[in-house]
Amino acid sequence: MSIVLKHEIPGDDFSRAGEASSAVKNKLKQMGIPPEVIRNVSIAAYEGEINAVIHANGGEITVTVDPDAIVIVISDTGNGIPDIELAMQEGYTTASDNIRALGFGAGMGLPNMKKYADEFDIRSEAGKGTVITMKIYMKRPKD
């Protein structure tokens, strides 16, 4: 049976960015999910949440917990990403100096999400928004 957690990401207040990911983390803890899985989900969700706040004036996060994996979907209705390949490069950012002064916008968000997720998919359309889907396995495959 799947359990679905859904949270709105408010876009107007940077100091509240992370509340949705925090709520997800607490819920996963209560559910007894392994700590390493929780951490990977938390970091991936948090990076996505920060991105939605910085670049798209908020959005929505949906986390589906299945017995074998956790799927995180972060969607927004922002301006979209014109060049996804470029955006995926470590260090590439379009964030303002203002955001950098807050400790983000180092061009590590998308690469970090890809790193912490076992499966990563990003779709974006100009003027319509971006949807990121990340799957994290309950058990890490053997290297």
Partner: protein
Amino acid sequence: MTIKDISTLLNCSVLCCEERLGSDVHMACGSDMMSDVLAFVKDQAVLLTGLLNPQVVRTAEMMDIICIVFVRGKTPGQDVVELAREKGVVILSTKERMYEACGKLYESGLKGRKEP
């Protein structure tokens, strides 16, 4: 090394979660860029930073970082301290600058991330 050892080495004030000073710390990370911190994961880590906003505590929360040391004598706002208290993250403040604070901890045996 315990959080208490860090507090002593850097002559810190303890701003919250004093009851957790006995917790062991295995490694440290010093940065003002939270995006870089989020690329670094290890258990029982301490974060040294000069950045004061609530996202520092959120970053620590997501990464299971158990202690934040604010350098250069910076003291965060009450909202930041309250959030840390709620999340059980020890907040220390030292007058040392980032470089010296990291150097003192490293010299005392607290290393950074070991690359696999």
